[in-house]
């Protein structure tokens, strides 16, 4: 057993975290232990206290470590080894030790709790054991590489990831079950017969996992012991150097391999997300209001400074759109002003200049180039000194406006005496857009306006990864269009969908060639001639259901420009209906 443990240690070390979480989970379930649950509740309440009094907790941890060391003296050698490991992990920690400090503590707590009820879990948790055994290979599969650097990384990521996950699972017990059942059902049924024979082995395994947990505790303890005290004292420069090379090392950066798909949570669509978010009450509203009032007091000053030839740029965390909007409504009601949403994906300097020439200056002519247009505007404003124009640009540093030429043109506009520019920037490196020449054109005055407000409007043109892409609209439009078609046409389309779904994992899939499609349709008795299929496809194309593309060999390829998730949904719906 020991030798096996030794040989497998590299793999096992990362395994244990998932393992003990699961074990814990099952203990929780099986015993229905009100007592433990209560303890856990206390734990939750105490978290705040724990943050506040780290030293106290650390002492406790130390004692626990000592106790545990007695308990696992069998593993003495490994303890030391893992200690080494632990310190290595520590070296990789960031100066901002918030996360690592918190979770190791929790880990240690969990482990100690586990240690109090070791035998029970072995004797009674027949059902849970197989899951552990299965869990181990599952996890270690992911981290097949076993050199120490990677191990360290894995270690760390596991620290970060599984601990909170486990905690969350415990907190949301019912949902966890729905989650886990699908995940584990297959393995359960498979292993159930084997349980009896493997009982002996299982107990061994459990003991093993316990031992590893103990190790884990020892690993965890030094981490939290070191972070607050030694970390600070340690030579900062050498630390920085190490961190730099670690961050920029050429070796592949490893993150955990958990993906959003594995979460198995139904993606929300935009509407539900909005509803959910609107329910959340914003925190610190009083303080934020105060902050905003502070900024609003500056409005008059801004106007003054704008009139005196400066332009104003706002920076700081949080959306500045509302603030500028308030500025607009309070101060600019009597002036001609143009609001430019830099975050709008279709914005361009051309459109800005167009709106100035067409709407502000009522000029109907066209211009040969943007520069001509600019010259014209500049001359116009120089001639008519009574003309005044305020430009409000939200996100001057947006993707579309950050180009050198755009900035040059906007800068030239803003350098005019009777054009006043007030803009906001958000990007960390936004000031890099401007060299000295541009800066002197802009003649900025910087104002820090940290608002902490959400970038709701600014990000509304972008899609979240976790929100269902393209929403329900394509699905409903698909069904609508398809409903109006003949059954044959529907069949043709379904064929195409199925083919595309079959090939969805193929990255080089460019579509179904027309000839193949025709063949398939013929075989399904959907069309009788080349022409009918073509006519049908034209109809699809008119409804933007398919896209055709000429391949390199000149053959026409057909593709449905809808993501596979929607297509699957659509198929399911179709099947229900028919």
């Amino acid at each position: 057993m020991m030798s096996k443990l030794e040989s497998e240690e590299d793999k096992m070390l990362e395994v244990q975290f998932v393992g003990d979480d699961d074990v814990l989970n099952h203990i929780l379930d099986r015993e229905g232990g009100a007592k433990i649950k209560k303890e856990r509740a206390q734990l939750l309440v105490n978290t705040k206290k724990i943050i506040k009094k780290p030293e106290y907790d650390l002492e406790e941890d130390d004692q626990e470590v000592l106790k545990d060391q007695n308990y696992v003296e069998v593993l003495g050698r490994h303890v030391q080894e893992s200690l080494k490991n632990g310190s290595a992990t520590d070296g990789g920690n960031k100066v901002y030790s918030f996360q690592t400090r918190k979770h190791p503590e929790k880990m240690a707590k969990l482990a100690s709790e586990l240690a109090k009820t070791p035998r029970k879990s072995v004797s009674s948790n027949l059902k849970s054991d197989p899951e552990i055994t299965i869990d181990i290979p599952q996890c270690s599969k992911g981290h097949s590489a076993s050199d120490t650097v990677q191990l360290k990384n894995n270690d760390k990521s596991e620290f970060l990831s599984t601990a909170p996950r486990g905690l969350r699972k415990r907190l949301i017990v019912p949902r966890f079950h729905s989650d886990s059942e699908s995940e584990y059902s297959a393995s359960n049924s498979e292993d159930d017969e084997g349980v009896a024979q493997e009982y002996e082995e299982d107990t061994n395994e459990v003991i093993l996992s316990e031992q590893i947990q103990a190790q884990n505790r020892v690993v965890a303890a030094p981490v939290c012991k070191e972070t607050p005290s030694k970390k600070m004292k340690r030579d900062k420069t050498s630390d920085l150097v190490e961190e730099y090379f670690e961050a920029h090392s050429s070796s592949k950066v490893l993150t955990s391999d958990r993906t959003l798909q594995k979460l198995k949570r139904a993606k929300l669509d935009q509407q539900t997300l909005h509803n959910l978010l609107s329910k959340v009450s914003p925190s610190f509203s009083a303080e934020l209001k105060q902050l905003n009032q502070q900024y609003e007091q500056l409005f008059h000053k801004w106007m003054l400074q704008l009139h005196l030839g400066f332009n104003i740029v706002l920076y700081g965390l949080g959306s500045k759109r509302d603030l500028l909007e308030r500025f607009r409504t309070t101060m600019l009601q009597d002036c001609i002003h143009v609001v430019i949403n830099g975050f709008f994906p279709g914005i361009s300097v051309k459109s800005i200049l167009n709106s100035i020439t067409e709407e502000v200056l009522n000029h109907m002519g066209t211009f040969r180039s943007v520069l001509d247009q600019l010259d014209w505007i500049v001359n116009k404003f120089k001639e008519e000194s009574s003309l005044e124009l305020f430009l409000l640009i939200h996100n001057l540093d947006s993707q579309m406006l950050r180009g050198d030429k755009s900035q040059q043109i906007i800068g030239q506009l803003s350098s005019l005496r009777n054009i006043y520019l007030i803009a906001s920037i958000d990007h960390l490196n936004a000031p890099l857009m401007w060299d000295h020449a541009k800066q002197s054109l802009y003649n900025w005055l910087w104002y820090e306006t940290t608002t902490y407000s959400h970038y709701t409007e600014e990000t509304s043109y972008e899609n979240s990864l976790l929100v269902k892409q393209s929403g329900s609209l394509p699905l409903s439009s698909l069904t609508h269009v398809l409903r109006s078609l003949t059954p044959n046409a529907r069949g043709i389309f379904r064929l195409l969908i199925k083919y595309q779904l079959d090939n969805q994992d193929n990255p080089s899939y460019i579509g179904l060639s027309f000839q193949d499609f025709y063949q398939q349709c013929r075989e399904a008795f959907l069309v009788n001639s080349d022409l009918t299929l073509r006519a049908q496809l034209t109809e699809f194309r008119d409804h933007k259901l398919i896209r055709t593309k000429k391949g390199t060999d000149g053959v026409e390829y057909l593709l449905i420009p809808v993501d596979s998730g929607t297509l699957t949904d659509f198929l399911e719906k179709e099947e229900e209906e028919f």
Binding site: K48, L288, V360
Partner: protein, 692 residues
């Protein structure tokens, strides 16, 4: 909201013109901003007045400083062109002479100011040399075609200015023609021949003194032109030089060597280069400071911190005088905007008049000034009471204090200049720090504003060095000082001027009466000293006693030198006091260096980091107060997410991240349905992070 749409990004708002066309006067913004709008109208007017004065002063300075450069440039142009004229008469035999006259203008790295210089240069040239002045920038001319096109179109624009606009129609059609040097030269021939008969009309412009005015081409940023374009152009135009009299002006930011680096020998041999050096921007700055701040002309002054911020931005960021002026303007504005008593920041008679009309509130403001309070505390108790209760008495006192302040400044600058004269030629420049080559008065001014200069080691060593100078050097310095004092009309220091004159006379007479007895002169001098300063007398007596005791008797020169040094020291002690020590200095001095730095030299990065890392800094909620390095879980979501993200290296797993986030949040809120929401909320935040 009215300004969000899925189809457009620009929204134009035009108010009803019929209703209110009149725009709000700017003063109103000045007034409304502050609750306590004491004399704000007056303040704003004063601001505008002073700013206008300062601005015109700087423009005048700029012109003055450029004048030398421009004069020599024009001279060069005329000289080289007269050569062309001579050639043009018998160009057949002189065809070998193909060198393009070129002026290399080394302007330094303050790129932002160059535009201004070139603009005024163009103006000057157009007035004095030729109507055909074209300036090109590298970014307009990526290749030869664009280069020629730009050149031609600008040339013809110049021409329009001279000629009647009848040719305009022709021009528009011409614009699409592909230009070559040939067409340019034929155009030039046409133009010059056409204008010849019209000579009387053109007589107004000095350019008419030549039959064929030269074409001046200014390349603003020579370094950024592509070498190929430059080379081609030079070679081609040198071929056409006999019919197209071109003169080049290169604007160079780095060093003249760059010409040879850009152009191979074959090309650069076609140029006849003459070098012109513009004034270094640091000297420029010193002049500007000298004329704007080290003068009694403008009452407005900067405190040491503000001056430091401004000079640092200048020296370490841009070398731009314009930006410096901008900073000055901003500090002037801020001063008048934030300090209600700045209404008194004007010339002395006006200030005295205004004091009489001060409101009760303003009097209260005066009493609240820290420097005034300090002043009051030093007074006798009856006077204290009177100052704090009696408005009229306060006003009278304020008048005298303001007057004192003005006198203090006048003396201050005189003595400062004097000290500068004495220390500027010392080896190693003990009082100058920033620049090793030239020790400028601006640095001395900074040092003097910062601390009492006589306490500093540098000052002591400077005096030590002064004590070792030879007679001629001292005499030269004294002469300069005397000039400084003579031109000033201040009565208070007239005495000093006399003293310096005396010193001069004594030094001069040293040679003559070398063999005379020393007792007499030294005694008479010490008597003279007695009149001015007791401290000085004591010190010199002490020193003399000590010297007599310890060493051999000094020569007469040494005694005199010693006296001179202690005289300077006494001047410094008496007049170079810190502005902070003057009562009511807040009225004239702008000291909010922090705001200035925030607005001119902001650090968005730090602001973002602070907002994410330490929300308590912005949101003054006790729940957010936390020790270093950890963040309470009630903090704004984005702060938590940021903290968690710091834990990872370059790549982050979105799932881990959001789950960790959920853990942190739910740890505080207990378990509830919120966890779903908070997780989704996190996604939004994630998107924002990608915005960064």
């Amino acid at each position: 909201m009215a300004t969000s749409s899925v189809s457009k990004g620009c929204f134009v708002f035009k108010p009803d013109f019929k209703k209110r066309k009149i725009s709000v006067p700017i003063e109103d913004y000045f007034n409304k901003g502050k609750n306590e709008s004491e004399d704000s109208k007056l303040r704003f007017e004063t601001y505008q007045l002073i700013w206008q004065q300062m601005k015109s002063e700087t423009e005048r300075l700029q012109e003055e400083l450029n004048k030398n450069l421009f004069d020599s440039l024009i001279e060069f142009l005329q000289k080289s062109h007269s050569g062309f004229q001579k050639n043009s008469r018998d160009w057949g035999c002189q065809i070998k002479l193909r060198e393009i006259p070129t002026a290399a203008l080394v302007l330094g790295v303050n790129v932002t100011d160059h535009d201004l210089t070139f603009r005024s240069l163009t103006e000057v040239l157009q007035n004095n040399v030729t109507p055909y002045v074209v300036s090109l920038q590298a970014k307009d001319c990526p290749d030869m075609k664009h280069f020629l096109q730009k050149l031609a179109s600008q040339l013809m624009d110049c021409n329009v200015g001279v000629q009647s606009k009848e040719k305009e129609n022709v021009q528009v059609t011409q614009k699409k023609i592909h230009y070559s040097m040939d067409s340019l030269s034929t155009w030039y021939m046409n133009v010059t021949q056409k204008t010849d008969p019209k000579m009387p009309r053109k007589k107004r412009t000095p350019s008419s003194q030549w039959q064929s005015p030269p074409v001046v081409l200014i390349l603003k940023d020579m370094e950024s032109f592509t070498t190929k374009v430059l080379q081609d152009f030079i070679i081609i135009s040198s071929q056409h030089l006999h019919e197209f009299p071109l003169i080049l002006i290169f604007g160079i930011a780095t060093s003249p060597i760059v010409i040879h680096r850009l152009l191979p020998h074959a090309v650069s041999s076609l140029l006849c280069i003459e070098l012109f050096q513009s004034l270094s921007c640091k000297e420029h700055l010193t002049t500007v400071l000298d004329k704007l701040l080290l003068t009694t002309q403008f009452p407005f002054k900067l405190s040491d911190k503000v001056l430091q911020v401004l000079t640092n931005i200048f020296l370490y960021h841009d070398f731009s005088i314009q930006n410096f002026i901008k900073g000055l303007q901003l500090s002037l504005l801020e001063h008048f905007y934030s300090q209600p008593l700045s209404v008194l920041c004007c010339n002395l008679p006006e200030a005295k008049r205004r004091i009489n009309f001060l409101s009760d509130n303003q009097c209260e403001n005066i009493r609240r000034l820290p420097s005034f309070r300090r002043y009051v505390e030093k007074q006798a108790s009856e006077k204290q009471v009177a100052l704090l209760t009696n408005e009229r008495f306060l006003k009278e006192e304020t008048q005298s204090l303001i007057e004192n302040l003005h006198v203090y400044h006048a003396n201050y600058f005189l003595v400062l200049r004097c000290l500068h004269q004495f220390t500027s030629s010392l080896p190693k420049y003990p009082l100058g720090r920033q620049c090793a080559v030239h020790f400028q008065i601006r640095e001395l001014y900074c040092t003097c504003l910062e601390k009492s200069i006589w306490d500093s080691e540098e000052y002591a060593s400077a005096l030590q060095l002064l004590r070792m100078l030879a007679k001629d050097e001292l005499m030269a310095m004294l002469q300069e000082c005397f000039k400084v004092f003579k031109y000033s009309s201040e009565k208070q220091l007239g005495n000093t001027a006399k003293r310096i004159e005396e010193f001069l006379a004594q030094f001069q007479s040293l040679d003559a009466e070398a063999k005379e007895e020393e007792e007499d002169t030294s005694e008479s001098q010490s008597k003279g000293l007695q009149k001015t300063d007791l401290y000085h007398l004591q010190k010199s007596l002490l020193e003399m006693k000590e010297l007599r005791r310890t060493s051999k008797r000094q020569t007469k020169f040494e005694v005199l030198r010693e006296q001179l040094v202690s005289f300077i020291h006494s001047l410094v002690r008496e007049y170079l006091l810190l502005p902070d020590t003057q009562p009511l200095h807040e009225v004239l001095y702008f000291s909010a260096a922090h705001t200035l730095r925030q607005h001119l030299n902001a650090a968005p990065r730090i602001a973002l980091h602070t907002a994410l890392n330490n929300p308590y800094y912005y949101l003054k909620n006790e729940a957010l107060r936390s020790e270093e390095g950890c963040i309470p879980n009630v903090a704004p979501d984005i702060c938590i997410a940021y903290k968690l993200h710091l834990e990872c290296s370059r790549l982050i797993n979105l799932v881990d991240w959001s789950e960790a986030f959920a853990t942190v949040v739910t740890a505080a809120e207990k378990m509830d349905a919120n966890s779903v929401t908070s997780e989704e909320r996190n996604e939004i935040i994630h998107l924002q992070c990608s915005v960064y």
